[in-house]
Each structure stands twice: as C-alpha cells, then as structure tokens.
Assembly symmetry: C2
C-alpha cells in the first residue's frame, strides 16, 4: 500500500533497531501514538477512530489493541506525550515564579497547537501529564517560600485554573472548526462579543459591558494576567 511511504517519517525518527527484528515499520505504541496525534491535529477529536488510525498505519484495526488497551489509554498516551515534551522544555533554573509562568504558558501554547489536549487533560486526571504539571508547579512554590501547609492548596488553584482555561480553549477550537470550516480567531471572538452585546441589559449588564473589550483581548495575555493574579494571592500567605 502506498500509505506506507507516508508512515516512514512518523515513527521515532529513522528506523532505529527495534527490540524485535521484524519488519522495520512494525507497529509500536510510539508509532500508534504519533499517528493518533497527527489525526487529532488535522481531523480533530471526532476524526480519531480505530479504523482511520488503522488505515493510516496500514494495518488492521484489531492490531492496535495489541499495543494499546483501548481508546481511553490511547487518548491518555497522546496527552502524556504532548505534555511531557512541554515539561522537558520548561525545565531550567529560572526564578520560581518565572518558572511557574513558563510552565503555565508552555501548557497553554501546547493546547493552542493541539486543542484536543485541553479536553483530554480534564477527562483523565491523575495521569502522568497532570502529575508532571502539578509537580512542576508545586516544586516551584516550595522554592518560592510558600509555607508547607499552604503549598497543596496553592498548587491546586494554579493547576485547576490551567485546566479550566485548557478546557475552554479546546471547546473554542472545536466550535471554530465546526463553524463554516474557516472562521478565524477574530471573527469568532467578534461573534461571541456581538451575541453578548445583544443580551438582555437588565439580566446581563456585566457581560454587555465586557463585550466591548472582548474582541480586542488576547487570550494568551489574559491567561497570563490570571496566573499573575493567583500568584499575587499566593504571595499574600507567605
């Protein structure tokens, strides 16, 4: 099948020697995860089916189950993969609060690139991806001098805030993708703002007021502003 030629570049770079000596393009969890990420990025969450994945890997759909327990594990593995990359890139000896900002931003940008991660992160908690983020944040809070009794709560606020934003970005991307196939960011925000502006003035005064700033605002900046606000609150207890 000519599909094979596409797959050559998918695996772990070149066809380095596998543990088994079978065909060099043998299936492996890594190749499956890589292919799944490609599908998720290009076709969206609904595009990832075992049939589509099998077709891309030029194999039978049942073969995937030899390497992966089920779709849940597959999705969790793709999320872990994306987040693990982010976290290794973020490792460094920056000043703690700066490091926290870097972690948050790294996750934000990763989700901007792979919106489906935002949904998955919340769906399967206590997996490697979340633990790495939590650990990264918690460690910096310790070095920041947050008293031990407050560290757990402080790390939790930051983590949950990040998860909340992640979920929203995933949802927005899903909506934008569905909308006439080619709605860009600005027109999407504009449409939301316009809808808010049309809301009942008595019932939604705040939303109407805010609708004016909405199209101008930058999600990434607002996300960072939120992190700063939370860090300011944490500074209060140390």
């Amino acid at each position: 099948m000519e599909r094979r030629s596409i797959n050559v570049k998918i695996g772990s770079m070149t066809a380095k020697k596998q543990r088994t000596e079978r065909r060099s393009d043998a299936l492996s969890k890594e190749r499956i995860v890589a292919a799944a990420i490609e599908i998720l990025d290009t076709e969206g969450e609904s595009g990832l089916t075992f049939r589509a994945l099998a077709a891309r890997l030029a194999t039978g759909s049942g073969a995937i189950y030899w390497h992966v327990a089920d779709k849940n594990e597959l999705l969790a593995a793709t999320t872990d993969h994306v987040i693990a990359r982010v976290m290794t890139r973020v490792i460094g000896d920056a000043e703690p609060s700066e490091a926290i900002r870097a972690i948050a931003l790294g996750v934000f940008d990763a989700i901007d690139e792979h919106p489906w991660v935002g949904a998955q992160l919340s769906r399967e908690p206590w997996r490697t991806a979340m633990l790495q983020i939590f650990e990264g944040i918690g460690g910096r809070l310790q070095r920041l001098g947050v008293p031990e009794a407050a560290q757990f709560d402080a790390a939790s606020v930051l983590l949950n805030y990040i998860l909340g934003v992640a979920g929203q970005n995933a949802a927005n991307a899903r909506i934008a993708a569905g909308d006439a196939a080619r709605t860009d960011r600005m027109t999407f925000l504009g449409a939301v703002a316009a809808r808010w502006a049309r809301l009942d003035a008595a019932e939604y005064p705040f939303l109407r007021q805010v609708s004016a700033q909405f199209p101008k605002h930058d999600d990434r900046e607002q996300f960072l502003a939120g992190v700063a606000l939370i860090l300011a609150g944490i500074a209060t207890v140390r």
Copy 2:
C-alpha cells in the same frame, strides 16, 4: 405500557394544562430534559442514549428530535437547567465577596450532586449556564470596587478556576463509578495518595510530600481556599 406510571411525576410537577390539548403526558422539552437528568444522575454520562431516553419516556427515539435538535443541545439544556437553579438560589444582597463565594460553592455543590455537569460546562461554553456564572461573578466584582480595566481578567480567573475544579470532580466521579461499583470517597482518595507515595522520589518529590495530606483533605474546603486565594490576588489590584 406500565412505564407511563413512572413518568407521571417526571414532568413539570402535576399535569398542568399544556399549550396543546393533546394527551396530558405529551412530550415537551422540559419533560425530556427532566428525564435526561434522571438518567445522567443514576446511570452516568454513558447511560444517556436516545434509546434509553425514549424508553423512559415511553416513546419512539425519533420523537425526541421533534423537541431537541440533537444530543449536544440536549446536554446543554440539562446543564443550563441545573445551573439556572443554582443561580436563582444564590441571588441575594450579600456582601460582594461573600456572594462570589456563594456562587462558587453553589456550582461546586451542584456538580457534586450531578457530576456530569462538570464535564458539560467546559464542553459547550458560552451557553446560558456559563454566562450566568460569569455574569454573577462579574457583577459582584464591580460592586467590590475592582477597577473596570481589571474586571474582565478577574472574572475570567474565577470562572476558569471553577471550570477546572468542575472538570476534575466530574472525572473523579466517573472513575469512582467505574471502580468496583462501590468505591467510596475516602478509599478513592486513599488510592490516589498511595499511588503518589509510590512515585519516584527524585522525579516527584512534591507529590510524595503532598500525598500525606491528600487523604485528610476536603475537596470542598480546598476549593474554597482556592477561591479565597484568588480573591486575595484580586484585592491586590484594587
């Protein structure tokens, strides 16, 4: 069908006169939403299918589509219904920061009761449910004296934090429900903590330390501590 007798109590209390004069137990969006909520509460998200819903309503599965566009709208309507109840209960003239705490807690408790709401809230944003929460928070921030330029960011942090926690609670409930059918809260938390304690000490020092406090901690208290932390951060800019 004897199912009918069950359904009598499901609708809008007693069979008040309908707009149409047909059978008093005629289908309506409200009855469908109420039945869907019952299924979601008792069988979980995966239990809500159009076939199950139709069976409970003693009708054909196609009939539901006369009142509801598709499953997405059905889920959004159930979420709006649950959150709307919370928000009307919360309305009052409490001191602003106290009102914000009440809104947050109201949403938290609603999700504790209907875990699926936590997942749905993030899945379909910019719907009535989220707008009501956002408006409620934003309005109190104004009254709290937060400068106008900071109101949007401040309301967003709080909203996203709530959404993050909501998503986690939904996921935890889903896991607990799957686990041997009858894992209670404490043993679930204990299991998570035990797993954390077993993590590599070099890679996850923070998680290992925190694992000791984890079983003792109260999600609700921790949620409130997070709200307080964010409010403290917001107080910084006013």
